[in-house]
């Protein structure tokens, strides 16, 4: 067992060497590749450049992520609205809990064929599907977060007659924020998956569609290029969100168990 700590420079080097080595390796090994399935890295990058220059890369990005952010925003609003309501009404939560548990484990992807084949390949059905996938982790984690707020906090708010709107804003939402953040983090990731699936199933534009079309036309370099773009963006969003979460939750850093009845940092994953 070697749990040494390394200085900042050594740390960066250690984190960087393997990814860089692998990319270089990929480049070298594939350079003279004749295989259809594993084109040279340069060819892939060329296809990427071509896609960008043609112009459709940007419109695909705008389409895909327009849908994504619209759905994410909608799922945050709906998820928090219901999450707060259910969290603040414990009896409602009790009654609904088995249904929520069941819905949580239902893979939303099963609705893709039904929704797209019935409602078409436009933006609306896709936004709806992404929303369906993203709303559950947010809703469920919000409920958990509200439940975890110490009852004394609620009692104090009642003793000082804090009006409902202010209570929801500054006591419930603020107190549940750490758990809500976990839920949003899951939604960010799940959203990308659903985005890709909804576009690959039926679409006229978008990243997923680009990858699908290229694949169907056996244009491997373009397919790889599209896949890599999706992967990189998915990773970038997750990384950015993690940074945002870190800054937002500065106050939980040192807080022991004063706030919560029990430590709840588990993500309630869909």
């Amino acid at each position: 067992m070697n749990r040494k700590t390394y200085g900042p420079v050594a740390s960066i080097l250690l984190q960087a060497w393997l990814p860089i080595a692998l990319i270089v390796l990929w480049f070298v090994v594939s350079a003279n590749s004749e295989s259809v399935f594993w084109p040279p890295l340069t060819t892939i990058l060329g296809a990427l450049a071509e896609w960008a220059v043609e112009g459709s890369l940007w419109s695909d990005l705008v389409f895909s992520f327009g849908n994504y952010f619209a759905a994410l925003a909608l799922s945050i609003v709906v998820g928090l609205a219901f999450g707060v309501a259910i969290g603040m009404l414990p009896r409602v939560g009790q009654v609904l809990s088995p249904f929520l548990d069941f819905a949580r484990t239902l893979p939303i992807v099963v609705f893709v064929p039904i929704v797209i084949l019935t409602l078409g390949v436009g933006r609306g059905p896709k936004i709806f599907l992404i929303f369906l996938a993203c709303v559950w982790p947010i809703l469920l984690n919000c409920i958990e977060g509200v439940r975890a707020i110490s009852p004394s906090v609620f009692e104090t708010a009642r003793a000082y007659r804090i009006p409902l709107r202010l209570r929801v804003q500054k006591v419930v939402l603020a107190g549940a924020l750490p758990q809500i953040a976990v839920g949003v983090r899951l939604a960010v990731t799940i959203g990308i998956v659903m985005l890709v699936v909804s576009e690959m199933y039926g679409s006229t534009e978008g990243l997923g569609n680009f990858v699908l079309q290229s694949g169907q036309r056996f244009q491997l370099p373009r397919t790889w290029a599209g896949t890599i773009v999706i992967g990189v963006i998915g990773w970038a969003f997750t990384a950015l969100y993690a940074l945002l979460e870190h800054r937002l939750l500065a106050w939980t850093r040192q807080d022991g168990d004063a706030m919560t009845r029990r430590p709840v940092r588990r993500g309630i994953k869909k």
């Binding site: 009692e155 000082y160 007659r161 804090i162 009006p163 500054k170 107190g175 807080d255």
Partner: protein, 269 residues
């Protein structure tokens, strides 16, 4: 600070109150047919063994819970829920302060609830923090403060609320002796400077006699008032001389004897 001044001689009144929990055969009657008047401008201390129902009574006075029978009234009006004129300091200071707000925001929060403008409420909050001696800690988070300081913040919050009545439920129970002494003096100072009517629930007899103008002793199950002791020790008290005063010692023994005698045995009324 513009604090509302109570005009009546009796600030709070509990008339024939009873409180039971549970239903049917499992019902537990904690308080039965109790009558208590809290006089304006006094520090009234409620003492008794653990579980006797002091906290229950305090919550009834505060409007946080409703009596099974009887009424609680303030200046003639019945108390059916929390009111602006009553501020509460709870025992669990860690739970009652909002950890995601800084100290100043915590203290100002009830004012925000009342709709006071931002600049004004922050000013009053800062003033309240000064009174409790935490003017420097306004920008900190509660977890950065010690237990005693957190309880001071809770007191400051009650002060900023500018209510004429302050109810405290075992406020210093979880603090060490030194901190407890400081905060006891703080409470006396509040009564002296601001003329607030204060009710303190405590299981510490010394504290009850030291703080109170009147000590009400509870005992028995269901809880009854077994003694009502006036404390003629004057308004200027301090930890050393007051606690050595023979009157203090005598009163304290009296209360102790009563608590031991009545304990939680059923009391014939």
């Amino acid at each position: 600070m513009t604090r509302e001044k109570l005009t009546t001689e009796v600030a709070l009144s509990a008339v024939h109150v009873a409180k039971s929990f549970g239903a049917g055969s499992a019902a537990v009657t904690v308080i039965d047919n109790l009558h208590l008047d809290i006089r304006t401008g006094d520090v009234t201390c409620l003492v008794g063994p653990s579980g006797v129902g002091k906290t229950t009574l305090l919550r009834l006075l505060a409007g946080l819970s409703s009596p099974t029978r009887g009424t609680v009234s303030m200046g003639g009006t019945e108390v059916t829920g929390p009111v602006d004129q009553i501020a509460v300091v709870f025992q669990d200071y860690r739970g009652s302060l909002m950890p995601w707000m800084k100290v100043l925001q915590n203290v100002a929060f009830p004012l925000e609830g009342r709709g006071v403008a931002r600049a004004e409420r922050l000013r009053r909050a800062a003033e309240a923090l000064d009174i409790v001696g935490l003017g420097d800690s306004a920008g900190k988070y509660p977890w950065q403060l010690s237990g005693g300081m957190q309880q001071r913040v809770a007191i400051a919050r009650a002060l900023a609320y500018e209510s004429p009545i302050l109810l405290m439920d075992e406020p210093f129970g979880s603090l060490d002796a030194q901190t407890r002494s400081e905060l006891e003096d703080l409470v006396l100072g509040l009564r002296r400077e601001l003329g607030i009517t204060i009710v303190v629930v405590t299981h510490d007899i010394d504290e009850a006699v030291y703080l109170g103008d009147r000590v009400v002793v509870f005992g028995g199950r269901p809880s009854q008032i077994v003694d009502d002791v006036p404390v003629p020790l004057g308004r200027d008290r301090d930890q050393l001389t007051t606690k050595a005063d023979p009157t203090f010692i005598e009163l304290r023994s009296r209360v102790l004897v009563e608590i031991q005698r009545y304990g939680l045995k059923t009391v014939a009324s």
